[in-house]
């Protein structure tokens, strides 16, 4: 049971390097929060501050109703899974899992019961006498999970726990971690740079960059309504396309214009932008938000020349040249386009993103400029 609250927390290293700047974040009890961002964005530092492995330079870190700024790790009731697994190489699997309990002077029978219980749940019972060096990557990962599980901590911290696994194993372990969260009924804070992991696992995602939170929200929310170009680009694979252009507001209808391309904007956006014709913006189009069907005279559309065709089995990706820009879109595999061919694709107006060109902020978000 733990609610974690950051109040204006800053982490500064020697030499005035700021890893985390003025962080305000509340993680609710039993919530699964994913800290997402590129390397060096401050997500691991944030996690380490929760663990007590890094000191908070400024601000307050609360666990429930207690300030824990100076509380050492072992008194915080947290367990952590590391990217490198950090298993004790000279101890057996059993002793690795039991170590945290031994350090807390839990009775021997209780330790044995919990270790065997966790091992059974993780299907590593037959490995208990082995050394970490005799295990595969996936097995080591399970031992690391087991070591955290037996502690029955109030907060479960994971620092890129799946990064060292191969792709297939990573996907199956994602499901297991999700199950683990349901079964353990405890707060999970999970750090990753993998947007797919974040989208599948999180109750809420915290997107970070340069030590600053960019957006907090449910996965769908963040994906559908990115607050700025950083968030929009970081989530989505292949990434969102941007077309630079200007706003045109003729006759009450508001549209985006780039060269010969004109896209009528949906009413919600139009209402916001009516007063600023000539404003420079970026139009964001996700690769999947185009369609070969439903093309009418009034539908907003995009015309371009097919540059590359990449079949990926389930779909087909097309690289297009649109008004001098490279645009990458996903179409169904019945589409038989050839390179050099002109193509016209319908855009879904509600799924268009418009960002201010200078600030990169979304013009759809609340409080948008």
């Amino acid at each position: 049971m733990a609610r974690i609250t950051f109040k204006a927390v800053t982490k500064r290293y020697a030499g005035d390097v700021v890893a985390v700047r003025d962080l305000d974040l509340e993680i609710f009890d039993k919530e699964f929060v994913v800290l997402l961002g590129p390397s060096g964005c401050g997500k691991s530092t944030t996690l380490n501050m929760i663990a007590g492995l890094e000191e908070v330079t400024e601000g307050e870190l609360w666990f429930d109703d207690e300030i824990v700024n100076t509380l050492p790790p072992h008194r915080r009731d947290v367990a952590m899974v590391f990217q490198s697994y950090a298993l004790y190489p000279h101890k057996s699997v059993y002793e690795n899992i039991a170590f945290g309990l031994r350090m807390r002077r839990v009775a021997a029978e209780e330790i044995d019961r919990r270790v065997r219980d966790a091992a059974a749940k993780l299907e590593i019972s037959h490995l208990l006498q082995r050394r970490p060096s005799q295990l595969s990557g996936g097995q080591r990962q399970r031992v690391a999970l087991g070591r955290a599980m037996v502690r029955q901590p109030a907060v479960f911290l994971m620092d890129e726990p799946l990064s060292n696994l191969d792709a297939a194993l990573r996907i199956s372990m994602r499901a297991e971690i999700k199950h683990l969260h349901t079964a353990m009924q405890t707060t999970f804070v999970y750090v990753t740079h993998d947007q797919a992991e974040a989208l599948t696992l999180a109750d809420r995602i915290v997107v970070m960059n340069d030590g600053v939170i960019q957006q907090i929200g449910a996965p769908d929310d963040i994906y559908e309504r990115p607050r700025n170009t950083f968030v929009a680009s970081f989530l989505g694979n292949p990434p969102i396309n941007y077309l630079d252009g200007t706003i045109e507001g003729a006759d009450g209808a508001v549209s985006f214009r780039r060269g010969g391309m004109r896209v009528a904007l949906p009413p919600a956006l139009a209402a916001r932008l009516r007063g600023s014709p000539g404003r420079e913006v970026k139009l964001g189009i996700r690769p999947e938000d185009v369609s070969r069907h439903g093309l009418g005279a009034e539908t907003p559309a995009m015309e371009g020349i097919v540059d590359t065709v990449l079949p990926v089995g389930s779909d087909r990706f097309l690289g297009l040249k649109v008004e001098g820009c490279d645009v990458f879109v996903r179409v169904d595999k019945q589409a038989h386009h050839r390179e050099g061919e002109p193509v016209r694709l319908a855009l879904v107006p509600e799924r268009l993103h418009v960002f201010d060109k200078a600030s990169g902020l979304s013009l759809l978000a609340d409080g948008a400029p």
């Binding site: 380490n48 007590g52 492995l53 072992h74 590391f82 950090a86 004790y88 190489p89 170590f99 807390r104």
Partner: protein
């Protein structure tokens, strides 16, 4: 290199050495010749000598005596006393080197201002040749103008200058001290390399698991250092057992026979008594004993790593 070795070309003559084999022989030959001259030949020749009664005091009569020299050495009570002193010196030295080096390595593994300077200073003894080190300590221990006397006198620990190396009870310990001073740097480097290989995540994991500083040392640091430690102990034991320079320069085996160790005894027998046969036999015994000991230590430690 792989390009050369992966394509063996047959010599024209059927069954002759391949191009690669010939190349290899040509390249190895110079080193092999030198090694044979300075290592293999002396080893074999000294064994040959050890089977003869070769005394330079009567160089014209060199009878074959078989293993008699070995029997003489092994049944001589003075030899066994020397063995006892060698063992005492080695245990003292190796234990001190191991403990001091471990502490120094742990210190230098931490980040603190002046760490680089301290590391550089610590390496100085390593750079000093054995004989220079021995002469330096001879001055430090000197009974008339030695630095040790000066220091202790000024700090009021002693009332008058002492003849440090003349005290039979202290001689071995004082020589061991000089030996340790010289040997610690290498041991520190070996242990520091071991320490650097321990991932920081292990300490973080142990902290989260609730281990305090001592427990982290016992459960993370020490086990990881096992192989470096084994190396230090084997190497230093071999160095200590065979050590000669300090005994030669500081005490010449004295006072009385207080520092009369096996290496010194070999020197005396060979170059003072000119009894080459006996000296060679003793050298062989010492070499085999060192080898056996090193093998035993490595076996014992390897099983637990």
């Amino acid at each position: 290199m792989t390009a050369i070795t992966s394509l063996p070309r047959r010599a024209a003559r059927f069954g002759g050495p391949t191009y690669d084999e010939r190349n290899a022989l040509v390249l190895i030959a110079p080193l092999a010749t030198v090694l044979f001259a300075v290592a293999v030949f002396p080893i074999l020749y000294s064994f040959y000598i050890s089977l003869y009664g070769l005394k330079l005091t009567r160089p014209h009569r060199v009878p074959f005596v078989g293993l008699e020299n070995y029997v003489t050495v092994l049944t001589d009570p003075q030899f066994w006393e020397a063995v006892g002193r060698t063992a005492a010196f080695s245990v003292m030295s190796v234990a001190a080197v191991a403990v001091i080096a471990l502490l120094a390595a742990l210190l230098l593994n931490e980040e603190f201002p002046g760490r680089r300077v301290l590391s550089a200073v610590l390496l100085v003894p390593w750079a000093i040749p054995y004989v220079a080190n021995a002469l330096m300590w001879k001055w430090i221990y000197d009974s008339n103008y030695g630095a040790l006397n000066g220091l202790l006198y000024q700090l009021d620990f002693i009332n008058s200058y002492m003849v440090w190396l003349g005290d039979a009870d202290k001689t071995l310990a004082l020589i061991a001290n000089a030996f340790v001073w010289k040997e610690v740097p290498l041991a520190v480097i070996l242990l520091l390399v071991g320490l650097k290989t321990i991932p920081a995540d292990l300490y973080a994991a142990a902290k989260v698991d609730g281990a305090n500083a001592l427990q982290r040392f016992l459960h993370v640091t020490l086990p990881a250092l096992k192989s470096s430690f084994a190396l230090v102990i084997v190497y230093e034991t071999m160095m200590a057992i065979r050590h000669f320079d300090l005994f030669f320069i500081l005490t010449e085996g004295g006072p009385g026979d207080a520092s009369h160790v096996v290496a010194w005894r070999i020197y005396v027998e060979t170059f003072r008594n000119l009894n080459f046969g006996l000296g060679a036999a003793m050298s062989y015994i010492l070499a085999l004993a060192t080898l056996a000991l090193a093998y035993a230590v490595i076996r014992a430690l390897a099983q637990r790593i």
